[in-house]
Amino acid sequence: MGRIFYNSLRGAWALVKKDLVDELRTRYAITTMGLFALTTLVMVSFSTGIFSLDAGLHAAFLWIIIFFSAMSALARSFIKEEEKGTAAALRLSAPPEIIFTGKLLYNVLLLLGLVVVVLPLYLFLMNLPPGANYALVILLLFSGTACLAGATTILAAMISRAGAKNSLLPVIAFPVLLPVLLTAIRGTSIALAGGKAGGVSAELTFLLSYLLIIVTASLLLFPFVWED
């Protein structure tokens, strides 16, 4: 039993590595998300950077930037598999659960990378109030983006099987992700205002439960999407 689990993880991890290598060579997600993030950030900074905004507004801006940058590129990994015809080889080689886990982990990593780029840039370009609890901010950003990845992985697979474009993702993902966005924004805003861990425990618990439930549901439903 343990052996099967280990092999499954190895399989999922192989998929993650393959996607990472592919991404490094084509730099699709990096450029798309990066440019999107930069453009929105510049717009926000240029128009409001000199003002002292309250924490809630900063939180909202941050998450708008992250959400839309994520949406610009997340469906790509599945869409490319279908377009290039490599999905067949994947189906023959591994059960759907492994494929899903691999793609999920890859999406999580991509979004982690996005946060690592966006947060420092945001700090640099914007005039953040002092006393923000950055450890908590980072924790909330990571939790929120994990949830984004959790929900969008199966949605991206659906879009790829539908033969639709990446641009469909934000449309169908938004209603599903709204609870995450609202909670993450609220939590981030508390953290930016200098809140302590206790103050955002509800938000963090919420995000964690969402992540667990949505990933479980996606795992159960993924075979319907992936197989014919």
């Binding site: 949605l155 659906m158 033969g163 209603p175 599903v176 995450v180 919420f206 319907f224």
Partner: protein, 221 residues
């Protein structure tokens, strides 16, 4: 024969409810005549949710048995639900405008109905993006379930995030029966009436699905 009788009964019921809403029921404390909209707004919202649940049940059944007719039913019930959701949103918005001065406020109830509207729209956008019939049915069914899962989370957090402007204490059924007895009667009658209306529409949808299936030469494989 029974069907015709039921339909006439339903029509008569709805007429009675509508009249009662304006004449029989007294104006509410504090809100006055404006409160009358709840005889329409709340049942509409209730049916929107009901339609979604029915649609999702058909989606689940489709995934389990692969019969296209279940997908037709899911889609048609969703259409019904969409119409009711639009009506619920509009009536809620009218109420908001005349009570609080703004058409839209993002208070919990408004937000919830708006999310439902978004989910319905996303459902239909997804459907229109897939050409292959079987794929379309499968993707739409899975989306229906995933979207449903996110709703409890939404309902849970929205009240925490925003202070509510919705007049819960006065006329909400969930908050406790603080309605005047006459109002309550009309309210329940309206709820039943709208549910009956939905049942009728759902039945039409069901028969329509069977027809579509028959027309396209589908057999229960």
């Amino acid at each position: 024969m029974i069907a015709i009788v039921l339909k006439i009964l339903l029509a008569a019921w709805m007429v009675m409810v509508t009249v009662a809403a304006f004449i029989y029921a007294p104006p509410a404390l504090g809100l006055g005549d404006l409160a009358r909209i709840i005889f329409f707004h709340v049942p509409l919202a209730w049916v929107s949710v009901l339609a979604y649940l029915v649609s999702m049940v058909h989606s689940i059944r489709y995934l389990r048995n692969g019969l296209m007719i279940e997908d037709h039913k899911a889609a048609l019930n969703a259409e019904i639900g969409l119409i009711f959701t639009v009506l619920a949103t509009v009536t809620g918005s009218i109420f908001a405008r005349y009570t609080w001065g703004m058409f839209w406020n993002w208070d919990p109830r408004e937000s919830s109905i708006f999310i439902l509207l978004l989910i319905y729209c996303a459902y239909f956008v997804l459907r229109s993006a897939v050409e292959d019939e079987t794929r379309r049915a499968r993707m739409a069914s899975v989306f229906s379930i995933i979207a449903f899962i996110s709703v409890p989370f939404l309902v849970f957090i929205i009240p925490r995030v925003y202070a509510t402007l919705h007049p819960d204490p006065i006329i909400s059924v969930e908050a406790g029966f603080q309605m005047d007895a006459k109002m309550f009667r009309v309210f329940i009658a309206s709820l039943l009436g709208f549910t009956g209306l939905y049942a009728w529409l759902a039945n039409i949808a069901s028969r329509l699905s069977a027809l579509i299936g028959g027309m396209e030469g589908e057999k229960d494989v």
